[in-house]
Amino acid sequence: MDATVKRKKMGLKQRYQTMTRGLDWTTSYQDMDKVFPYDKYEGIKVHNWDEWEDPFRLTMEAYWKYQGEKEKKLYAVIDAFAQNNGQLGISDARYVNALKLFIQGVTPLEYCAHRGFAHVGRHFTGVGARVAAQMQSIDELRHYQTETHALSHYNKYFNGMHESNYWYDRVWYLSVPKSFFEDAMSGGPFEFLVAISFSFEYVLTNLLFVPFMSGAAHNGDMSTVTFGFSAQSDESRHMTLGIECIKFLLEQDSANAPIVQRWIDKWFWRGYRLLTLVAMMQDYMLPKRVMSWKEAWEMYAESNGSALFKDLARYGIREPKGWQDACEGKDHISHQAWNTFYTYNAAAAFHTWVPNEEEMQWLSEKYPQSFDQYYRPRLDHYDKQHKQGQRFYNKTLPMLCQVCQIPMLFTEPNDPTSICYRESDYADDKYHFCSDHCKEIFDHEPEKYVQAWLPVHQIYQGNCFPEGTDPTVEGFDPLAAVMEYYRINVGSDNFDFADSEDRRNFTEWQAGEEPQVSP
């Protein structure tokens, strides 16, 4: 019997061109500049959108087909995980706090990316870029949904996950990821692409994904591992969009280079600051550790990054201004961040703890230049205090950086005993920053950053109390009122892991008791 000859009418490239090109038009009874009001104001010059090369040519038909198959596989695993009480297979209940950090601080960013790409997908005049952005918008919504589904199972058994969307818009440490993405979304479409597609999805993506996903694999969390794999081919499309857009902008006009450089400087730094949370997670929150933040930085930033910027040198692009300071920070930021959450754990919706002796040894080996000298002594002190029934909780609100909104916990490059302070006077007020690089971002666009909603200032202004609160009442406890406004359950979402319901429950379940699903 003769095999059926498959006769395609068009090749892939032609099919893709047909399905995505020639469907646009030049407007006739409204000015193009009115219909596309954002594509010129950033000063980026595009002479010929036809030079945009689509890295992956997935037509909608192929997209639905393959994404649909991935979904079926993923949800089958999520179901199996739930049916088999997969949450009992994790290394240690402390690990779940890494997932809490993820659903609180990373998952909402997927939704923001979805909205951001939908927006830029409307505002470029180039069809290739519009289609790519729209496809990514759908991918990002998918990531938001699949992460929420994968992690929702844990929500039945552990605290600190129940109000993640609500917390994202209000809770102090979550203004860090929120302000990062809102900064990108409120910029122009070209800045958004350089910020997210290039700086985040290409340059820094491995430093977000690999720590969480390999952390999941090493700690028995099959649900998250499976989500990670399922998202990975989406991410490779996003990466190729990032590198394509930077190439396109730099090849269209040499005058674009200084604009793009400034965005690369800004977004490398903002992305690096955001990754502080991941550094802390990697070094402190994984009972079975994979590699240190320092090692991950050396592998994924220093090695990959230097090859990339060598490649971009031909366009007149140099490595980001903050590169050296970011490399210097690799010995310090994870420890400084953990100390922040440890001491402010009364106000955070996940648990913290002092590492055990074996973990301290690991940290000491991985950080020979810094851990024993600067960071272990206070951890030992905290441990001693906790054992005496005086676990330290800082009750005074921290000073925040106006731009990255992180507490001013970072030290001067090359002096880990001195906090790094920078400031600017602008329009009869004073603004503070954690670094030269956040200050430079502010100084370039002060009107943008003076509008920042800083959680600490908002709390002091009385904007973070439940509706109808009277702060003048005798015995008023402002921190308790803030926690009520936050909807963080005091005594179950916060405080030390050692004293937590999570720990008590997990110990009972490991001893053979049936887990009770929470109502």
Binding site: K6, K8, G11, L12, K13, P55, F56, R57, L58, A62, Y66, E69, K70, K73, A217, V225, F229, Q232, S233, E235, S236, M239, T240, I243, A307
Partner: protein, 89 residues
């Protein structure tokens, strides 16, 4: 000269793809780690649909690699018969 690479989830679906790549790219090197198979090649790597079809014993749509693709590096060129990664400028 820099390496290009492509990485897949290590499972039965990706096995014939990996075998096809090795057959068509003599300088490629394969590295296995938990759940992942990564293939590095100097400067250029090609994936041919026909070779995969010989391995897999059925018709194959090259875009099926999206089901198991994890990450890659290099400039992509794609059509119905071939996917290539390269650092040629």
């Amino acid at each position: 000269m820099s390496d290009v690479f492509i990485a897949f989830q290590a499972n039965e679906d990706s096995r014939p793809i990996v075998d096809a790549i090795i057959a068509d790219n003599p300088e490629a090197k394969v590295v296995y780690s938990p759940g992942l198979v990564k293939i590095d090649a100097p400067n250029r790597l090609v994936i041919n649909r026909e070779t995969i079809e010989e391995e897999i014993g059925r018709d194959y749509d090259l875009q099926e690699i999206h089901l198991n693709l994890v990450t890659l590096s290099g400039h992509i060129d794609e059509d119905d018969d071939q996917l290539s990664l390269s650092w040629d400028h």
